[in-house]
Amino acid sequence: MTIATAVLQPDSPALTAATPELREFVVFRTLGQDFCIDILCVREIRGWTKPSNLPHAPAFVEGVINLRGAIIPIVDLANRLGLTAIDEDERNVIIVTAIGERVTGLVVETVTDILSVPATDIQPVPDLSSDELRAVLRGLVVHQGRLLRLLDIAAILGTELAA
């Protein structure tokens, strides 16, 4: 079994082109909505692996996978944000994030871009009805006609996942 793994190299063009005013984001799509997260949180992006179920886990925790010897939990981002659960599909991808020492995989439908955005282009979040979303949204970015929701990954994963 081979797993397509794209490790983001520090010398990739997207990074070297950055100027201090620019912030870089990984842009991805899940359940038809576009999101982005700070590239500095992202360790790697890898193909989908079926996770092993975890007992007594919240619904948004799909299970755990083996990442080169480390056991990491897989979180269904759509479900975590209060949307419905993502469909299980071999074409889903896992964004491996690191918050401090803690490594977590986010399962999303597809990763579309790596984007450099001037910090001034990040718009504040308007009032939202969903508390779930408001707690984890840090801003909005409009890019080529698409609305990208900027997520605070630490707020999503910072608390203990295990109930």
Binding site: N53, P55, V64, I71
Partner: protein
């Protein structure tokens, strides 16, 4: 050349070993063995630390070690009789020395007032006569000899030359020398210049020059030589009193303890000053035991090796599965090689783990100090008894045991041992005994900490639990259930919050620390007799033997160490009590059945027993239960991977591992898997005796 930082690191490593030797030696003195070699070992340890400290310019350390050394020298020379207050002072001094070494290591200076106080106490412990020795003298890099104590009496120079036929006549010069040394302070010099390469060991060719300082007169000296007088040349004369420095040696035992061939001393004029003399360089003296051949290895390197060995086990499993899938397993050559590879990788694994395994002794020895300090703060008397200190455990576990053990010791002193008056009233010795015991038991390490104190005051525990709303006032609890209340978060019965424990973060924190190590903790108590805390830990946090089972479509691992047997119940063996409590009958005994799939929430309804497999597992307290699984796939060594690093603790799950196909399987914890209602079962008798014999 090694950079100075390396030398520094070596000094601190050695200092740590020396401090352990120092502590061990003081322990022996405390237990009544104040013999020459024990005192010497202690002296050597302090002296070596002083020497090393001087090389690095740790002036405070040198000054303190020097005073310590002087006190030890008084003991060695017999000036001081070893009694309890002196031993206590020595122990305090050794703790302070350890603190000073640690302070230098971490480069965080100690409070000068504390240092000065410790130093003053130490100096005051020496008798007034010896206090003339100035401890302010800065220690020179060249170790200095000891300033002689003022002595009264005469000094004799004795030439003692047994005749060649002395041995044949049945004389033993060493006995004569011993008797002579008993008269006063003697400095004995061997003259072996008459020895030739082809000497006859039956003939005595040795002569001795003795400088004896004694309050006896010459006639007493001559009396010593009465028996050998016909077979030796003897000259005794008064020596000129030297101002100081020369006759520094304290009394010495015989220089030549009866050895079969005495004349082995090869050097033409070798110095056979006996071992008890103060040597400026202890390293040059032959040690009592030959040192074992060891190497120092950076722990990181061993850890790396452990990880790689773990990966080897995983990849062996992957290879085996790949071959199985390709259908080549049937070929015996492949099968045999694979089997050998399995053996080898297991051996590598075991050897690597053996490298990392360490006896619990250093950890336990540290508890002496904890106990002493805790007892003195609490105004109680207690001593620590250690058993099974050679038990070996993986060092990763030992490291993480220090805090829980410290906590347990303090708890024992604070809550267990009574005040001396109360103990007297209860007819117990005033000094309480805390026993710490380690043993291997069925693939786990069991550490028991027991005290002979008052036991748990169950009425009070109950009352506190009710007051805090932890239990209902009407709750009917068995004694062991009351004891278990102590582990509830936020429970503390200490009426007066002491400086040691009783801050209300006690036992529940202890329990979570032990649980994080894959261990379990239980408590047993007898009113008036004492309390025993038992922790059971895995031998290693790296690998284990696991049985690969399947339940509700999930592959899970059961630790083989907990499995008693497996059985396939036929229709008649399974019964149901009420709706949901199945039991299985095994040789006339009914065992509760836990459906693993349902207990973990993978399956809603418990399934029928028929067609499934029961794995009978044993809890630590000898309770057995049957775990219901759908299938057993394999038995293999699995590498333990932490779930808690990236996720958290899951009840019923000990850890995770990686299977041959790269997927993750969870390792079950059979004990935690039990439904909570099993706590309502009749209390099991405590396994560990509370009182020592």
């Amino acid at each position: 050349m090694a950079p100075p930082t390396d030398l520094r690191a070596i000094f601190f490593e050695e200092a740590e070993e020396l401090l352990i030797a120092l502590d061990a030696g003081l322990r022996r003195i405390e237990s009544g063995d104040a013999g020459g070699e024990t005192v010497n070992a202690v002296f050597r340890a302090v002296h070596s630390i002083k020497g090393g400290a001087a090389a690095f310019g740790f002036a405070n350390l040198v000054g303190f070690a020097h005073s310590f050394e002087s006190l030890l020298d008084d003991i060695r020379s017999g000036e001081r009789v070893v009694d309890a207050p002196l031993v206590a002072a020595l122990l305090d001094a050794s703790y302070h020395l350890a603190d000073m070494v640690n302070a230098e290591r971490s480069e965080t200076p100690l409070d000068p007032a504390v240092m000065q106080h410790a130093h003053e106490v130490l100096v005051a412990t020496r008798d007034p006569a010896s206090q003339r020795i100035s401890i302010e003298v800065p220690f020179a890099a060249v170790p200095m000899d000891f300033v002689p104590l003022p002595l009264a009496g005469r000094i004799f120079d004795i030439d003692f030359a047994p005749h060649a036929d002395a041995f044949a006549a049945g004389h033993e010069p060493s006995l004569v020398l011993r008797d002579l040394c008993a008269l006063g302070k003697a400095q004995v010099v061997l003259d072996a210049s008459a020895l030739t390469a082809d000497f006859d060991p039956a003939q005595c060719r040795l002569r001795w020059q003795i400088r004896l300082e004694t309050d006896r007169d010459e006639a007493d000296l001559r009396a010593v030589f009465d028996f050998i007088a016909g077979h030796c040349d003897l000259a005794i004369r008064d020596a000129v009193q030297h101002p100081s420095g020369d006759v520094s040696a304290p009394a010495a035992p015989p220089p030549l303890p009866a050895s079969p061939v005495r004349a082995e001393t090869p050097a033409p004029r070798s110095d056979v000053r006996p071992e008890t003399r103060p040597e400026p360089r202890p390293e040059t003296r032959p040690e009592a035991q030959a040192p074992r051949a060891t190497i120092r290895v950076d722990v990181d390197r061993v850890d790396r090796l452990v990880n790689v060995a773990g990966e080897l086990v995983i990849h062996h499993a992957m290879l085996a599965e790949a071959i199985l899938r390709s259908g080549k397993r049937a070929e015996t050559d492949v099968d045999r090689s694979l089997d050998q590879l399995k053996q080898l990788s297991r051996q590598i694994q075991d050897s690597v783990m053996a490298i990392r395994a360490q006896p619990v002794k250093p950890l336990f020895d540290r508890m002496h100090r904890i106990l002493r300090e805790a007892a003195s703060v609490a105004g109680k008397q207690a001593r620590l008894v250690i058993e099974g200190e050679t038990t070996e455990v993986d060092r990763t576990i030992i490291e993480r045991l220090a805090d829980p053990l410290t906590h347990m010791i303090r708890n024992s002193v604070d809550h267990g041992i009574e005040k001396p008056a109360a103990r007297r009233a209860a007819g117990k010795p005033e000094t309480g005994v805390v026993t710490i015991q380690a043993a291997h038991r069925s693939g786990r390490v069991v550490i028991t900490l027991s005290d002979d104190g008052g036991g748990i005051d169950r009425d009070r525990v109950r009352q506190v639990a009710i007051n805090r709303g932890l239990i209902a006032p009407t709750a009917d609890l068995s004694p062991s259930e009351v004891d278990a209340l102590l582990f509830l978060p936020g429970f503390s019965t200490a009426a007066e919050v002491s400086a040691l424990s009783g801050r209300g973060v006690g036992m529940d924190v202890l329990r979570s620390e032990i649980t994080a190590l894959g261990g379990r903790i239980s408590i047993a108590s007898q009113p008036g007799k004492g309390t025993a805390l038992t922790i059971s830990l895995p031998l290693t946090l790296a690998v284990m033997d696991g049985m690969v089972v399947e339940a509700a479509g999930q592959v899970l691992i059961l630790p083989v160490s907990s499995i008693v047997e497996t059985l396939r119940p036929d229709g008649s063996a399974g019964h149901r009590l009420g709706l949901a409590d199945p039991v299985v009958e095994l040789r006339g005994i009914c065992l509760p059945v836990i459906d693993v799939g349902a207990a973990l929430g993978f399956r809603d309804m418990p399934v029928d027993l028929a067609g499934r497999i029961c794995v009978v597992v044993e809890r630590d307290d000898k309770n057995t239960v049957a775990l219901l699984v759908d299938a057993i796939h394999d038995q293999r060594q699995v590498v333990i991977k932490s779930l808690e690093d990236n996720y958290g603790h899951i009840p019923g799950i000990a850890a995770a591992t990686v299977l041959g196909d790269g997927s993750v399987a969870l390792i079950l914890d059979p004990v935690e898997l039990l439904p909570s209602r099993s706590l309502r079962k009749p209390a099991v008798p405590a396994r560990t005796p509370i009182a020592a014999e």
